[in-house]
């Protein structure tokens, strides 16, 4: 049985469309100077943003993979 609409399709949509919002936010706060990459703690926050995004991608990805095994 094809589980694509229950597994990888929602996954791609979540991180694709959700990613548009996320990367727009990162770009906007950087472009406006709200986040100042010359400050070390702001650079840390920028890393936290990307690590957080990757964290959720990995969690969802792993669960999807193992469920389909």
């Amino acid at each position: 049985m094809d589980y694509f609409s229950h597994s990888w399709l929602p996954y791609l949509y979540l991180y694709g469309v959700g990613g548009i919002f996320f990367f727009s936010g990162v770009y906007l706060v950087w472009k406006t100077g709200a986040i100042d990459l010359s400050k070390s703690h702001h650079r840390t926050w920028m890393k936290v943003f990307f690590l957080g995004y990757a964290w959720f991608m990995i969690v969802h990805g792993l669960f999807t993979y193992f469920a389909l095994q």
Binding site: Y3, S5, H6, S7, L9, P10, Y11, Y13, L14, V17, G18, G19, F21, F22, G25, V26, L28, V29, T32, G33, A34, I35, K39, H41, W45, V48, F49, G52, Y53, W55, F56, V59, H60, F63, T64, F66, A67, L68
Partner: protein, 696 residues
């Protein structure tokens, strides 16, 4: 569908009563730290990130409750956790946009932001929408509480010879009375501390249930093997069934819900504002979203997953026809022993109460700040001093809490028709959040967004949303991503997508046509009959709006056009809006100006360290503290900088602390001079050392 009564034993009830008395005593003890409305609503802006993070657990878990998520866990599996794992997309906007703006601009409520950013009319409309939202949310909370408690109660009881049925509404009324009493006497500090305690208890109770349940079914591997494949997938099917599908819930929760949660939930914002600094608030948000929410997803959903595994293992233990909203109570009663079941039920209901009382507290804050204070100002009410003003406002806050509790109970009637709490919540969210969410978002992140834009977003957006609700097959179906329309409850979730699009569309259209509105307004102003023209236009627009809301005419499809064209002209005519001054410190483009205004002088960006000091009393009157010159060097601070002083005992989480300004330095290293008032406000204990850190 199978429903239950009389689950549990007298031991469980005794445990529950003791638990509630303990929590209320704990909260009442910390209620004594409520000295003024700042403490009542914001906990004095003093707490560490970890304390706020744990206190958010009870609030966040309560609002996304055991009942709702166990129900969906039972019906659909791990995808019940979707809404707990989709909050990261808007975090950059929140952490470096909204959070610093609301802290540095010193707004006490979201409507107050609207007045500063736009005008008093925007504040008025935002207040109405926000009060609807908050009261509706309280109603959802009460409904969930009622559904959680009903399976434990008998169907009826006898009093004075008459049989009284225990119905859902009657149970909710009793719960509301208990909740109302608690929040009325406690305030925010009580809420923060009881939520802190309940956060730990909740996680413990949820994981205890999970471990007991896994053991009951025979172990982790057996649990995994019992679940059908689709129950193991972390995301729901893309667009079916209509009662629970990924794409509808993405737009309703990941987009509208996340922005609503981070930007519009006054209760949650008040928690972040109770942190000692913006950076501390960021830490609290990060840890909460990255780690605590995923753990909470397991805590609230596992009873449903276990219920499914048990129904596959043996339908005689848990029937596949069990009412989903009761699955949590059923599973908990099967896998736990008497006493433990009572403890778990106490943790569940207490978590729900913490959500509801946070909302009541927050709604009272909005009412006092955005209705009571403006009315007192209009009536030119005079106070002898600030203390008297604060005392009267505190009294008003407490009375408002009672009234809001009652309104919340009444709002339950709107949600009781839905088959599950999850669907009621989804429908409520997708309907009520879009106008405010769009308005806040565009206000913060689009400098050009005008008062005409925001007011038309509210008014025009609501009309278009109502049209969509009336004719979903016409307006919402083009956006449905293939979701089948249920004629009884059409598009419970995906309507959020349509609602967001119409609100954004109205806001953008009105803002980009600002020049045309200004030209028309100028032309009218130059006419000698301008007042009459505007009077006719305003009355006409008002009538059209009323007809559109009530749906009294076959022309209702055209009314939104009139509203979207005429409302901006009226607003532009009457308002005197300057983009430069109105956006200073209130958009993401001017955070630095917000910091400057907050401090009152140029921000000192020099990095420093924390310093340990002993405190002594000085008889100065200004809100200043005096350090030695060497200590100031270590702090990286200068005279006039803001400083945060807290008790050195970190486990207090900032309960004993103050913010102040640095005054003229002295030469005694390791000593700080405070006034009696500051020592009293900071709750500092004689002989205990303090830690100082420069703010900003």
């Amino acid at each position: 569908m199978e429903t239950f009564h009389n689950i549990g034993t007298s031991t469980d009830w005794i445990v529950m009563v003791i638990y509630f008395l303990a929590i209320m005593s704990f909260g009442t003890y910390f209620g004594r730290y409520t000295k003024d409305t700042s403490d009542f609503f914001f906990g004095g802006r003093r707490f560490s990130w970890w304390l706020i993070t744990m206190s958010i657990v009870a609030t966040g878990v309560g609002s996304h409750s055991f009942v709702k998520y166990s129900a969906k866990g039972f019906e659909h599996g791990f995808s019940s956790s979707m809404t707990y794992l989709n909050d990261w997309f808007f975090v950059p906007f929140f952490m470096f946009g909204w959070l610093p703006i609301i802290v540095y601009s010193k707004v006490r409520s979201i409507p107050e932001y609207f007045e500063k950013r736009f005008n008093p009319s925007a504040r008025f409309l935002a207040t109405i929408l926000l009060l609807f939202y908050m009261i509706g949310y309280i109603g959802i909370g009460f409904l969930t509480l009622g559904k959680a408690v009903i399976p434990m109660l008998p169907e009826s009881f006898q009093i004075f010879g008459s049989i009284v049925d225990i119905t859902l509404m009657r149970a909710i009324i009793v719960i509301a009375i208990i909740t109302g009493i608690y929040i009325t006497f406690g305030g925010q500090t009580a809420v923060i501390f009881t939520d802190l305690l309940q956060g730990f208890i909740l996680l413990f109770a949820g994981f205890l249930l999970f471990i007991l349940g896994i053991t009951y079914v025979g172990g982790g591997q057996e649990f995994w093997d019992l679940l059908p494949l689709t129950w193991k997938l972390p995301l729901a099917d893309f667009n079916e069934p209509s009662s629970f599908n990924f794409v509808g819930i993405f737009w309703q929760d990941a987009v509208a819900g996340s922005v609503g949660f981070l930007f519009m939930n006054q209760g949650l914002l008040m928690r972040f504002m109770a942190c000692k600094s913006v950076n501390e608030g960021r830490k609290a948000a990060t840890i909460n979203i990255l780690f605590v929410l995923p753990l909470s997803a397991i805590v609230v959903g596992n009873a449903g997953w276990l219920g499914k595994a048990m129904s596959v293992m043996d339908p005689g233990i848990v029937s596949p026809n069990t009412s989903p909203d009761e699955i949590f109570v059923v599973v908990a009663s099967i896998v736990t022993s008497p006493g433990i079941f009572g403890f778990i039920m106490a943790a569940l209901t207490a978590a729900l109460m913490s959500t509801v009382d946070t909302l009541i507290n927050a709604t009272a804050a909005i009412f006092v700040n955005d209705v009571y204070r403006p009315i007192m100002k209009y009536l030119k009410k005079k106070y002898d001093n600030n203390k008297q003003k604060d005392k009267q406002e505190l009294f008003a806050a407490r009375i408002t809490s009672i009234a809001i509790t009652a309104a919340g109970v009444l709002s339950v009637l709107a949600f009781i028709q839905f088959p599950t709490v999850y669907e009621a919540h989804g429908y409520f969210h997708s309907t009520l959040t879009p106008p405010l969410v769009v308005a806040i978002f565009m206000g913060v992140f689009w400098k050009r967004f005008t008062p005409a834009g925001v007011i038309t977003t509210f008014l025009g957006g609501v009309v278009l949303m109502i049209l969509g609700a009336r004719f979903p097959e016409v307006f919402i179906s083009p956006f449905d991503h293939g979701i089948e329309m249920n004629p009884d409850r059409p598009y419970s979730y995906i309507r959020a997508f349509y609602n967001l699009i119409v609100c954004v569309g109205v806001g953008v259209f009105v803002t980009v046509t600002t020049v045309i509105q200004k030209n028309i307004a100028s032309t009218i102003k130059s006419n000698k009959n301008s007042k009459s023209i505007m009077w006719v236009l305003s009355v006409f627009t008002g009538v059209v709006y009323l007809l559109a809301i009530l749906g009294f005419s076959s022309l209702q499809f055209i009314f939104p056009v009139f509203i979207i064209v005429l409302v901006p002209i009226i607003v532009t005519y009457y308002s005197d809006y300057d983009e430069e001054s109105s956006t200073k410190g209130l958009t993401v483009y001017s955070i630095n100006e917000a910091k400057l205004a907050f401090k009152g002088s140029k921000v000192n960006e020099k990095l420093g360290e924390t310093v340990e000091v002993n405190f002594f009393v000085s008889d100065h009157e200004q809100d200043e503290v005096m350090f030695s010159k060497n200590d100031l060097l270590k702090l990286g601070a200068e005279v006039g900088d803001l400083v945060y002083l807290s008790d050195k005992r970190k486990w207090l989480g900032g309960l004993k602390s103050i913010h102040s300004k640095i005054g003229k330095p002295h030469n005694e290293d390791g000593k700080v001079y405070l006034s009696e008032d500051q020592i009293d406000h900071g709750l500092f204990d004689k002989g205990k050392m303090l830690i100082a850190e420069k703010e900003m």
